[in-house]
Symmetry: C2
Subunit: 311 residues, 2 copies
Amino acid sequence: MDINGLEENIDVLQRSECTQPSTNTLDALQAFNALPGKRKIWVDNSAAASVADAGVEALKLGMGYVCSNKIAATRSLKDWYVLLESRQRFKNETNVGAALPILHGLRSMIETGDRIRRIEAVLSGSVNYIFSSLDSGFKFSDAVREAVSNGFTEPDARIDLSGTDVARKLLILARTCGDKLTLDDVTVNGFLPDEAFEGDKKRFMAQLDALGERVDTLAANAMETGKRLRFIASWSPENGCTCALQALDPDHAFFTLEGTDNAVSILSDRYADNPLVIQGAGAGGSLTASGVLSDVYAVARWMLTQNAQES
Amino acid sequence: MDINGLEENIDVLQRSECTQPSTNTLDALQAFNALPGKRKIWVDNSAAASVADAGVEALKLGMGYVCSNKIAATRSLKDWYVLLESRQRFKNETNVGAALPILHGLRSMIETGDRIRRIEAVLSGSVNYIFSSLDSGFKFSDAVREAVSNGFTEPDARIDLSGTDVARKLLILARTCGDKLTLDDVTVNGFLPDEAFEGDKKRFMAQLDALGERVDTLAANAMETGKRLRFIASWSPENGCTCALQALDPDHAFFTLEGTDNAVSILSDRYADNPLVIQGAGAGGSLTASGVLSDVYAVARWMLTQNAQES
């Protein structure tokens, strides 16, 4: 691995430990900040709001903030502006599609003057696994059970099936394109009846056959006309953010999207006729870790430029 | 456009003109090098060997070298090692797929420890336009005439049809993955008979119907079994580089690839089950220009780190 001499140049890559163990995240951040070394990066692979709080605070303290955690970038616009203002020290490439070069690609397009006109995306591997199983004749309830037993969903599969995670990822894409939206502005047209979310996980799994009937009907209707169901996240400057089940024609870029893959399709002034499409595995520990590492390198490289300007 | 204060910080973005007009490229480089300013980038959007010569020389002089020109990166391994040794000052992202994040994606994967196992790609927009036209029943000769009249090919379409340009792009992918090959190592299984390349362009176009008969037969055979012809560039560590016509099954990622789009499919240790796929327009002036601009930014940002280390 070539990290271009970073190791010799910045303190951030030292393996430091907080000298004072703490149960409070902000205390831990302060202890980290007090350690020797001029440049530091707060790396947040949690799914916790308190660690994201500390990340935003880290930026205010002049530190870097790299996160696979999606919370910081999907809360208030006030927090988002803190991230934006520190964009050279803040990297969240793994928030959408793990290590797929989606946010990098978008940022390069925007940085060089392209204008994004429309994004369509499949952003949940577990949800796509379920709907692509329906293509080969599975019932929805069986597909969910299979996804759960393969470990493709959260322990409570409704966290995936509610679409909240997809909504967060779509919001990050929209904000990256410059749209000033919050999570409340994302329309999520769920595919499960409201009663699915009443009661606990056990009750949900017990009633799954009945709860999935509507989806099975939609899937059967789609197949009759040669189409396939996919849960699509869409954004455009005019119509904002929507997550909804769609029956896709065979010529749609996502028609053949299989298994737990993610995909994003970007139409812009420059990609005006056919979209730029990126697809592949969008989850998994080693992919996310590699994306986080790339982000840490990018922030560390930028920090070297700051040393230059200050000296 | 946010270029992060680069304009104030580096001389490279000054609009400089060589003070002494010169007809010799190396003289022009020396004149550029003699201009005021500590850091300079040689930007090469030509298709000329002499400008690539100057680019390699620019790197030896400590300058940056950004090129859409594919020549420097596809000549001798000796030249390639000069590029590799200066990799922070050398960027050629637009060599493969214009502004598509293909080389960036590959480099991120390799930099974070992934191992590339196989690459398959459609790397010629003009050739793909011709073969995707056959899907809808066009004859090869008519498809070529259409591509020529739409300006999708070089003035002499045989430059595209010979596969040399695809071979260069594939070699760059292979070298980026660490394989030590030269252009001679790339096997190109052409789809036109040798006699197509005898004589001039006019003679070629006059005999096109006869010359295309073999392809028309292959296309008809493919269609009978539900397949489609595509000109595929492939690389693996075991088998090296091959460019050849293939009849693709409907479940192949490139089966639906239309028009002048490019696509690349990467299997690796991390993308082991399903490949990472990137597709979209892989040619065109504004896309290439935006990719070159991204490269200039990247080299300029790195140059700031060098100012840091030297001060």
